[in-house]
Symmetry: C2
Subunit: 313 residues, 2 copies
């Protein structure tokens, strides 16, 4: 899956902030033959990053990457200016704080090459907001991954108001070359798309468990054995296009639209108030809470890999 020649082996990437997301990006960039500099202020970052990369390495191999020395092209630079000044691409994974990010981007503008492409993993603060203190924000935009980025294909591409079309096109090409599925979001909206859809299903899920309609564990089984399976193969609109038979989506809207609207009218709301939190904690302690975290994670990643391989993604 490595495609060094097209990406250009000369490309230098700087990863700002190497928590779970930043480290996963680092692994993926390295596996694709890019040279990576990590900029992270933590004193133990070299040790933490090295251990994390060893763990991710197995998954990357299972995904088909040929890896001999994942850390060969990796370096660390705690000084921001030194870390970014030669970078062609920057993937920023700083804390989700408006003030922090605005200060960071203001500083970045003084340090980076004019040709550098600056991509942010921001999951909620839009580029228009965090780039506000920059004079020129043409080459700054969001490349928001779905966790973990080395495994899940989606990257939401969300340009800010001042982002140039060229920068958007370059970002899409870059993510495609490293095997991701970048999708353009055309309007900045809180939560972008994937997290809003996830929130919508989660609200109804919490409501149904709270109402005693179904247990948490059974709700998960329902999703995995029906709509989850469906949506891994075809998203909601494609599913309903097929649900309309040969008449497609127009037929679906005419004949089943009213049924859907009736359910929309009675969907629940939820809050993580004291009683809800207590109920969910009690239920999770009775099921997933009994399984060691590492085992749960391994099981999920194995199934995820199995699906990706089945699709040859």
């Amino acid at each position: 899956m490595t495609n060094t020649s097209e990406i250009g082996a000369q490309k230098k990437v700087t990863v700002i902030g190497a928590g779970a997301i930043g480290l996963s990006w680092t692994a993926l960039f390295l596996a694709n033959g890019l040279s990576v500099t990590i900029n992270d202020p933590r004193p133990d970052i070299e040790k933490t990053a090295s251990e994390g990369l060893d763990q991710i390495s197995a998954t990357l191999k299972a995904l088909g990457y040929e890896i001999t020395d994942l850390k060969g092209d990796l370096s660390f630079e705690a000084d921001l200016e030194a870390a970014v000044k030669d970078a062609d691409i920057i993937q920023e994974n700083a804390p989700e704080s408006i003030e922090f990010k605005q200060g960071l981007y203001e500083k970045l503008e003084g340090f980076i090459k004019p040709s550098a492409l600056v991509l942010s993993s921001s999951s909620s603060i839009p580029a228009t907001v965090f780039s506000q203190k920059m004079k020129n924000a043409e080459r700054v935009l969001i490349g928001h991954p779905f966790n973990p980025p080395h495994l899940i294909p989606l990257v939401e591409i969300v340009p800010g108001e001042r982002t140039s079309k060229e920068a958007v096109a370059e970002a899409i090409k870059f993510y495609e070359l490293i095997g991701k599925s970048p999708i353009l979001i055309e309007k900045e909206m809180s939560g972008f798309v994937a997290n809003r859809l996830q929130a919508a299903i989660m609200q109804e899920s919490v409501f149904l468990v709270k109402e005693g309609v179904v247990s948490m564990e059974n709700l998960d089984k329902i999703v995995s054995s029906s709509i989850g399976l469906r949506w891994a193969a075809a998203g909601p609109f494609k599913t309903f296009t097929l649900g309309g038979g040969p008449g497609g989506l127009p037929h679906f809207m005419t004949h089943l639209g009213p049924t859907l609207e009736r359910i929309w009218a009675v969907l629940g709301t939820a809050k993580f108030d004291e009683s809800t939190t207590a109920l969910l904690t009690e239920q999770v302690n009775g099921c997933y809470g009994k399984i060691p975290y590492e085992d749960l994670e391994k099981e999920r990643d194995a199934q995820q890999l199995a699906i990706l391989k089945a699709f040859d993604k």
Copy 2:
């Protein structure tokens, strides 16, 4: 996957109504070695059913069923009394009309054996409602499949107020023996669980497309390359338990609960009004509308099969 000995080869099943859902059930029952009588008033039912079963047969083989003569144990009986009087199990797929179903169940009570288990594919009318005119509704409940039942594992088990625990247990056992994943819904609620969750994500999807945040085709790609993949492996609660790290769901609720609540507060609403219907029709004509229905269906089923095989389900 056939398990005739446990189900009992002597078991007689009657399928009432052999549209898409009823026919898919019929195929699955036959593949599992049961003898099936179809009760459907359409004059061309034998021809339609025969053609439909031939089509489904290929998918069942791909799922691992050894099929030599799928239609060997199939018969047709247009008279309701004659069709159900010897049945051990009845799977009803009549139109979703309260009046029609109530009349049907009232008649059924006079015709069936007292030991017969009566299962309804009803997707919206609860058992308590459609069994209202029966004197005894102990052995009547909903076994609601996700379309198509021969392929998608989920069956929602929804007892009515008068359904006995024994009947619920028998229904669960029956569906398990024919390879399904029956899940108990503990309270009758409009749309049960899967369709409510599906409606929740669909409402937000329609909202986002209408707002111009993302195109229909790209929204589908987002789902299939992120949350769909996730949920095929682990439902929403398991996903957020993992999202909480070693602290699990309680940690998630404390740290990311507020972010989720902020998105819940701004989720959209939708209606299939004239402008929405026109926009969705225009977009679907530009993507899936250009592909023949059969091709879309084949592609989806192939991917579905690939996932099920990857999971060894």
